[in-house]
Subunit: 169 residues, 8 copies
């Protein structure tokens, strides 16, 4: 991303450009928290070697968390997890006819030893927030930003609650 000058701390990977719109919502959160990231299209099945190169390079150049989204038999997050000791966050993407239950199970049911931190179907926003939470465990400034983010969410709910009861509907 041209607007991310520092070295990326988070790598966002998807297997196909058709996943871009959903994955961009993860990037939006990282931008909001001013966390440098890199976003790549690297399929676990179509370019496994390039994926491996990228994961190893990322690990050695300072990436701290991977976010990977995939649909159907969603192997991408698990395959990345097999290539790095770093935490990998998996986003089951809605693709095909089964409402995303296929990608959810293909991501969350990893065998013992190789975890993938799974979030809800198409919930790329939560994937990015989880990445921020992970980074915040060693970054007080991010921790403060997260607390502020939570406060804003709470205020937004309270405002809607106030609006609901201000008017006769």
């Amino acid at each position: 991303m041209a607007d991310q000058q520092s070295k990326p701390l988070v790598a966002i990977v998807m297997g196909s450009d058709s996943d871009f719109a959903v994955m961009q919502k993860a990037a939006d959160i990282l931008i909001e928290f001013q966390i440098p990231y890199e976003m790549r299209i690297l399929s676990a099945h179509r370019v496994p070697n390039k994926l491996k190169e990228f994961v190893e390079k990322s690990e050695s150049e300072g990436v701290k968390v991977f976010i990977a989204g995939a649909g159907l038999a969603a192997h991408l997050p698990g395959v990345i997890a097999s290539m790095t000791y770093l935490p990998v966050i998996g986003i089951p993407l809605l693709s095909g006819t089964l409402n995303g239950i296929d990608s959810l199970l293909s991501i969350v049911q990893m065998p013992g030893g190789i975890p993938v931190a799974t979030v809800g179907i198409d919930n790329s926003k939560n994937a990015a927030l989880l990445a921020v939470q992970i980074l915040s465990t060693s970054n007080n400034e991010l921790a403060d930003k997260l607390k502020l983010y939570r406060k804003k969410m709470a205020d937004a709910v309270l405002k809607k609650d106030a609006d609901l009861n201000k008017n006769v509907m």
Copy 2:
């Protein structure tokens, strides 16, 4: 397998030795059809590099079909399929609490371009028969053996039907 002297035509791969009992039933069929095979324990997540070496070596040394069984988020068949142009047969294994529906979906719902020929849950016998069918497309002797095998199956059913109606139950 010490009793398989010729070069293997089929490679049977599982991710864990806990899958051995089910996978051996595939081997039994290949033995019955006198098809040389190799059986390996090579996890897609724990030893991805060794798996890749093995798949490439197998492809170059004359293996014609891969059979891979896996449970849970069953990536093994799909990962092998991403490493070879040869047909890969996937067996969803019963593992964990979800009755094998997780492994079935993780294997069968492969993205466009990288198929896995999926059989029923724990149905390693059918996986091996499918491998024999594939080999039989260019091997008339195997085709004859398959026809004989079908005839024996039919005879077994007819015998049971005859037995049922011979006796008062």
Copy 3:
């Protein structure tokens, strides 16, 4: 198909003309690989005798692989499999209200002895590629074409990845 002059190596069968659009994608792949095929509408339930005639004729005239697509209680692939020793590839089609899980289970959960090589729901492209893989086990030219096809898929992913990172989005 008028443009397929040689004897068909692959038979594509569907039970209803409403399945044509999805099944044609399998034919498109076969055309791309220059594999002669025949496409037929022959329901397992409505014209079982014609189906049997066709399967037996195909087997005797050199067809090597069957591809069958069906929705709902999708019996067509399994019924064909019961009529031939050749490999049968089953495509669960989306039909009715259950997202294709009914056709997936009706195809993949075949009893021991009669396998159907099942691909993902509506994934007729993968069905055809699997047929090509099967034929390639005894056809080096096809094997080379498959390797090239894989390379093109990889190049397409890498191009999209490069495009993504060329521009600010």
Copy 4:
């Protein structure tokens, strides 16, 4: 069955002798209602020709209803239904790991034109009672027996209810 002297009105078919115990419960109901029946082991996939012969012979010799039980990708009831204009009752049998949901969907989701009258998973008793109901539409004696059977069921419930409230538990 040696104890069924008249011509069978109901044909009970299963694909494997492993289904016998469940299917016998259907036979028990027919015996209770004194309805002559025939019970056969004839797999749709392993002996399709024998099955066809049997269905055609049964139809011509006076059978009025077929009862077919099958597990997994349970094609047997639907295949029989494709061979006869007579009503076919399908029993999804518990087999394999998916709790019978595979056989239920494989039986009940028949395409338009070829119905199978489906009962609950492993509910061979209800299959037989449904056959009796069908026969009773043209047999007043059977209708009376069914009314009596219902009355006995009701009495049994009322007796258990009375017992429950007679004692301190």
Copy 5:
């Protein structure tokens, strides 16, 4: 129905007028087979007493088969079955958000003693054909009509198959 002058042999019942469009397809089949029927809106939950009156009246006035369609927790077919010894055909209707799996299970999984002959989700056509099959067990004319109906279905498939192969697509 004003156009059905004879005494009804089949009673079609639905719980809500929102089910009318699907249920009418059952009526269309009965009209095609010239079978007199009655169609009613009688909810098992909202007018249980009227439903009971209707079922008892139908039974006494010569109805031979009930067809009942219901969505969600689809109790209507089972409740009718508890009120008559006659065969009851249940159609699980698509209603609400669960794709009809709720109505399918609510209809097919009846307890022992009270069967409902269940057809596929929204498959009112098959429900009516099943009713015709049941009536045909004691009506040779209907049996002949069913055989003709099957033949027409087969011819329609064969015509589509011929069309497919006549033209280049």
Copy 6:
């Protein structure tokens, strides 16, 4: 129940004595809260008329809440709900092979107008507690007992927590 002298406020109904063990856990809670109840075996399908009599009598004699448990196509709670304006609590019971998902959907997915207050599968304890909560809305003594019950539950958790951390495990 011989030990319940006052007029019952809660009626517990099950369709079969095989459900007794689970349903008794609901009775145990009512005994603990000293709420008079009546427990009956009255199947919606086998003795619909007796069930109706009982529901009407209960309503007129002061019952305030019904608790009904059923398995499979669990119609009992919904059928009772169609017979009374009083709240009906439904317990989906584990029965058959589908883990209780059939009974859950058959109970909770009631059509608009006739609610059933559904609790978890086999969770008869929660059904009874819900009945107590309902009665407590007009009974301060019961409200106090519920608060005490909650406090005891909390104390039990805290004791286990303390035990866990008292010892080295």
Copy 7:
């Protein structure tokens, strides 16, 4: 609600204003029965402290029943139930891709001790009717209104049934 002058007897809570349209249908029923209510937007996850304050205040100020609707991992009803001894009615809302099965299970499968009275997916009408039923256990006027409401529902069905059979369709 400005038009609800008396003290609320029912509290309707949702976690997000996107749930408003469905939840308003619950309010509409309460308005029809002239039951004062309060409607609030208070997320269990975003404003847990405000939610707790509200529940405690409601309990102390005379609310008798809570109605809570939530989608996805629908914790709101259960969290409210952990904060009060009063009955809590949970509405699983359709949200996300899984047809509401996630919210249904997240609401109905509460652990022993803390029940939530669950209604069907998006069935806010039934939630409100259940609240009316609960209140009617100590309010004869409401009981009479409920009986009248049932009668109107029955009349509406009978009118539709009459209309259906008045005209030729």
Copy 8:
């Protein structure tokens, strides 16, 4: 835990002592990696206030990651996540009759803004490894231990593979 002298970095929470055996496997991994932890039994529904106190105290005293396991309508991880900005890892536990799919969906499908890092059903080992991965993002020693752990896993697979092929089976 008496053997954990340093301040805990990870807090393991379960709602019931019946979950202890599975949760201890998470503790075992932390012991293996010499990471100080605290393990508590604190139900989200039964002792919500104590849970809140504990989460706030843990956050202020240096805990970096929460691990929470729960079954059925598994609210515990999400409720903790609503109380802290720190990462929360959720383990869906097998409990009740639905194979853990209820707890999986109740944990993973969190609404936008409050993520829970979900692992596979009963996979407490992966939960702990994920916690180690998170801590390793700011702790090189832990990163090295993780790499070593991966290497040992790989060696164990390779040894089993070697054993398999050393002997005739």
